[in-house]
């Protein structure tokens, strides 16, 4: 990997960022709400072409980022500020 383009700071060295987690590729559809939560927490399916991840620019502006990467090639496809509202 190389640099990540922080939406606020611009391109910065990878060591300034800390990886948090990969979002599950497929949303599981189960009737039971807590089983769904369980699946979201523990059962993850990896897609070799696209990994959607949460990173934080800890050693820079501390922004939380949503990063789309191709894990096979290491290419960074898109980086944006992580944002959302309550589920």
């Amino acid at each position: 990997m190389r640099q990540l383009p922080c939406p606020f700071c611009g391109a910065r060295e990878l060591r300034e960022f800390v990886f948090h987690k990969t979002l599950p590729a497929a949303a599981s559809a189960t009737a039971d709400a807590s089983a769904d939560e369980f699946a979201r927490t523990y059962l993850r399916v990896a897609d070799p072409q696209l990994s959607v991840e949460h990173w934080q620019h800890v050693h820079g502006c501390r922004a939380w980022l949503l990063v789309r990467r191709n894990p096979s090639t290491g290419a960074v496809l898109a980086v944006q500020m992580l944002s959302g509202t309550a589920p």
């Binding site: 990997m1 369980f38 927490t41 939380w64």
Partner: protein, 980 residues
């Protein structure tokens, strides 16, 4: 000893100096490397090989040298494994050969050669097994390895420089310089890294012309032009690894760790023009002192004016051997024979090589075609060579003292490799080039297979122009330089001379790791046929050599043994660093105290001045105890804890994580984060709150203060401050974007002094401004009040972690020392973290030892905090059946049955019925001065009742103590002292 005559070479001066090698003094000239000086002094034996301890001399003249590795200096500041070919000599330098005992001449371990079969590839999987590997291990470990580590690593400062540029060029030879010039003319910012101390590469030996000038003149003009265009040229600097598009280059002037610089270069585009490395041909005993690379001999002659021997035999498979022979003869060495593996018709009639060969024959040199060197004869060094025709005929001996070998050149692809670049087989070189350029990385020149000067210049120019375009430089690169030099070598593949199977044990492929052709056969026989497996099984191409002289050669031999083509076999991937680099250089400024950064509180200097024994807790330096209170931490902590309970004390709590959460949605946000509700809190109150991870485990605990309707102060565990900040920021971004909540780290904006003990209230009333008299008196347990003291903001929170009446004073850092000293004057004594731990264990309060990431609120006795319907983070997974099983841990207290014995955190708790199956473990243990015995907290399976007797078993520290289970509060369970 009479002074030898001055040698003349391009790199050496006329000034004499002296140095020592293996205890003997030798003269040298300024500019000599250890290798050139020793050669000039007639020293040929320079080391012994790693496995078989065979005598070894120099093979090469540069970084490809596998044999001559020296110790420089003496213990404790010894520097091992320094390549003699790169080490620039300084007056008085002391060098020693490695890997021999007692001396280089007489090495007892060389008797191991007799047991050659015992040490073939993979021997440690097959031999030395009975009765046990340990019987042999210590002896083999003593014999193994290269060099010894220094006992002290007080090396000077390593400079670091970060630089960004448009185009990075590795190698300042013809191709590299052409590329750099093209890019610089096109307006790019160019940086060139050149491993040698001077630029020029092959131009040093090139007799040809470039753009109507001599190669030397072109070099001078091009360097001047590059400087005027603003290019930066870093000599004695090697790019050692690709750190994800940021290239680390290591500058080691003089070839010795000393004043090194680590460059971190981020280019937009890159041209890799690091040249091609000459490779040998394999024959029997090709590791004897006196067998060298052909190009190396020329380097010693040209640069250092040193003759590598007196009577030479040259062995090669290409045209250039004839020009080399002529140059070496002109340098005063006698060329006895040239052994060309190609047929007599390989030389084109009328070509320069053909003409040269004829004149050499006329001068008395024996030129053999379709012949090969079968073996080098001579025990301690070459004395003769045995040659034989390749297509039948008897072998014969030719007397000589040096064999110069050249099997062609392999492009130095290491730089591009580390980015995963694919390799393609190039038949004219019988080696590999980069198959495609990867994302703005291009190989050029001989690194790209262009061995002729004209082609290299054109290739470099094109690569430089394209690199500049990749870097968005908009200028014009100009016209490529036109050059003509030595014609194409017209190489015919030849990797290994024929040999009887028994002799293959002495045909060496990798000199540094003692890997022979026989080892490759063993690997194949055992089923390791892929080149990467062969590399690891036989150790071919590992170590500092990283296959520089052996990787392609080994692949070619493997191809022959397998009956496949070299293209099909491929070559193993070399690993960074491209050149050996000391750990000291990699560490940079992370040495000594700076190995990890330390954070200090506003009271730090006071602690240091008053005997505070600081220790790192995470990144923070905190006083564990004060030396005036006891000679060791144990005694001091007991005295301090006793002091707090009987009179009162103060402790520095500034490291407490503090997050200010503000905005109209602040309360709702905290309701989401924490298990219990923040929105129901009154302003001026604090509440003990616990938050969970997504999986329901307890993450952290702390007090939350409601400062206003829309403002809260959340405190976290001291070690958790930045972690909890990230946690809050994460959920704010994920679920609260655009809503009204902000999170600000105010940990360093407030110093915290905790005053605890029976006298603490009186001390506060005495010290603080009179305006505080009434509020202090009114403060109930868990209340806080905001005000000011001595002109600065002050917040007083009545809360306790010790079980005593206690107040947390939050003040601005600038006023912390004055407030601290005033409290001391009022009769409170300083106490440290060890005492804090004693007090909190007595009271049953929890730290990270219990909140260890594997405990739920139910385990920790916090079921009351878990209210149905508070839909906070992690709540959904708290109801899992697994969290309520009978074997889940439960927080309990422990006391020794005999009221005296010591048990420690980490001890496993077992029952009499099942003495080997732990039911839980001790999380915290302290010696309590209040109760005069050891106390503990533990996590114990739920089904073990209070009053049960267990064994606390500590096999690592050798103790078994009988304990019984009690409630997890040892002192003042009704909290009367705290709330009174």
């Amino acid at each position: 000893m009479s002074t030898p005559p001055l040698r003349r070479g391009t790199r050496i001066g006329t000034q004499w100096l002296s140095f020592r090698f293996d205890g003997r003094s030798y003269p040298a000239q300024a500019g000599d490397t250890a290798a050139s000086a020793l050669l000039a002094n007639g020293v040929r034996l320079m080391g012994r090989s790693v496995k078989y301890r065979r005598r070894r001399g120099l093979l090469g003249a540069g970084p490809e040298e596998p044999n001559a590795l020296f110790n420089v200096g003496e213990q404790p500041q010894l520097i091992p494994n320094v390549q003699a070919t790169l080490l620039l000599l300084r007056e008085g330098m002391s060098l020693a050969s490695q890997n021999r005992w007692p001396s280089l001449r007489v090495d007892l371990a060389s008797l191991l050669q007799a047991g050659g079969g015992l040490f073939s590839a993979g021997f440690y999987y097959k031999t030395f097994i009975w009765p046990s590997w340990r019987t042999y291990e210590s002896l083999i470990r003593r014999l193994a390895g290269l060099g010894a580590a220094p006992l002290d690593c007080a090396l000077p400062h390593v400079a670091i420089e970060h630089l960004a540029c448009d185009v990075l060029v590795t190698g300042a030879g013809p191709a590299g310089l052409a590329a750099a010039r093209a890019a610089a003319r096109a307006g790019a910012r160019v940086v060139i890294c050149e491993s040698e101390p001077v630029c020029g590469g092959e131009l040093e030996f090139e007799g040809g012309h470039i753009d109507g000038q001599t190669a030397a003149a072109w070099l001078v003009r091009t360097l001047a032009e590059l400087e005027s265009l603003g290019a930066r040229i870093l000599t004695s600097t090697t790019v050692i690894t690709d750190n994800g598009g940021e290239f680390i280059a290591h500058a080691e002037p003089g070839g010795l760790p000393g004043h090194n610089t680590m460059y971190r270069i981020r280019p937009r585009a890159m041209v890799l023009a690091a040249g091609a490395l000459e490779r040998p041909i394999v024959f029997c005993n090709n590791d004897r002192p006196g067998v060298m690379l052909l190009g190396a001999a020329e380097r010693y002659l040209t640069r250092y004016g040193t003759q590598v021997g007196r009577e030479l035999v040259l062995f090669a498979n290409h045209d250039r051997v004839y020009a080399s022979a002529q140059r070496l003869a002109a340098g005063g060495m006698a060329v006895r024979a040239i052994v060309d593996t190609r047929g007599a018709d390989a030389l084109m009639t009328g070509s320069a090589a053909h003409v040269l060969r004829d004149s050499l024959v006329a001068a008395g040199v024996e030129c053999l075609a379709a012949h090969a060197v079968i073996s080098a004869n001579g025990g301690s060094g070459v004395r003769a060579v045995r040659v034989a025709p390749l297509h039948g005929g008897p072998p014969r001996k030719i007397r000589c003292d040096t064999i110069l070998v050249s099997g062609g050149w392999s492009p130095a692809l290491h730089g591009g490799f580390h980015g995963g670049a694919a390799r393609a087989y190039a038949p004219p070189l019988d080696s590999f080039v980069a198959a495609t350029s990867t994302e703005t990385r291009r190989h050029a020149g001989s690194a790209n297979g262009c061995l002729e000067l004209g082609a290299a210049l054109a290739d470099g120019h094109a690569a430089g122009a394209r690199a500049a375009a990749d870097a968005k430089a908009t200028g014009h690169a100009g016209v490529a330089p036109q050059g003509n030099g030595d014609p194409s070598p017209r190489l015919q593949a030849f990797a290994r001379s024929p040999a009887a199977p028994a002799a293959e044990r002495r045909q060496f492929i990798d000199l540094q790791n003692d890997v022979t052709v026989a080892d490759l056969r063993v690997a194949l026989a055992e089923g390791f046929s892929d080149i990467e497996h062969v590399k690891r099984y036989t150790t071919l191409g590992i170590g500092t050599e990283q296959g520089r002289s052996s990787a392609v050669l080994g692949a070619a031999v493997l191809a022959e043994l397998k009956g496949e083509s070299l293209a099909a076999v491929g070559v193993s991937r070399s690993r960074p660093p491209y050149q050996p680099v000391t750990l000291r250089s990699i560490a940079g400024f992370h040495v000594g105290d700076a190995v990890m950064v330390s954070r200090r509180t506003p009271l730090n200097d006071w602690h240091v001045a008053h005997g505070g024994m600081l220790e790192p807790m995470g990144l923070w330096m905190r006083p564990r105890y004060y030396s005036a209170n006891g000679a060791n931490p144990f005694d001091a902590a007991i005295a301090e804890a006793r002091q707090v309970r009987t009179a009162g004390g103060i402790v520095d709590g500034s490291t407490l994580g503090k997050l200010e959460v503000a905005g109209p949605d602040a309360a709702a946000f905290l309701d989401f984060i924490y298990l219990s509700k923040a929105s129901t809190m009154r302003v001026g109150r604090s509440k003990y709150m616990v938050n969970l991870r997504e999986d329901g485990m307890v993450l952290d605990d702390g007090l939350v203060l409601r400062l206003a309707d829309d403002r809260f102060l959340a405190t976290t565990g001291s070690g958790h401050g930045t972690h909890m900040l990230s946690h809050f920021e994460h959920y704010r971004a994920l679920h609260w974007s655009g809503r009204g909540v902000t999170v600000t780290d105010v940990t360093e904006a407030w110093a915290v002094i905790v005053a605890a003990g029976p006298r603490c209230r009186d001390a506060l009333l005495q010290v603080l401004d009179t305006a505080w008299q009434a509020p202090i008196g009114r403060l109930g347990h868990m209340d806080f009040a905001d005000g000011s003291h001595a002109g600065q903001a002050l917040r007083v929170l009545r809360a306790s972690f010790s079980g005593e009446l206690a107040f947390e004073l939050h003040c601005r850092p600038a006023g912390a020392v004055a407030l601290w000293e005033a409290l001391l004057a009022a009769g409170l004594a300083a106490y440290g973290l060890e005492a804090v731990d004693i007090l909190r264990v007595e009271k049953g309060y929890l730290t990270g030892s219990e909140l260890n990431g594997q405990t739920t609120p139910f385990d920790l006795g916090m079921a009351a905090l878990v209210k149905q319907g508070n839909d906070c983070l992690g709540r959904a997974l708290l109801d899992r059946p697994a969290f309520h099983e009978a074997t889940r841990p439960r927080l309990v207290g422990l006391r020794a049955c005999d009221g005296r014995s010591r048990f420690l955190a980490g001890a496993q708790l077992t029952t009499a019925a099942a003495p080997d199956r732990p039911q839980g473990f001790v999380t915290s243990s302290v010696y309590s001065p209040t109760l005069d015995q050891w106390l503990g907290l533990a996590l114990l399976a739920r089904n073990q009742a209070e009053g049960t007797q267990l064994m606390a078993r500590d096999p690592l520290r050798g103790s078994d103590v009988a304990v019984h289970v009690v409630a997890p509060v040892h002192f003042d369970p009704a909290s009367e002292r705290m709330k009174g």
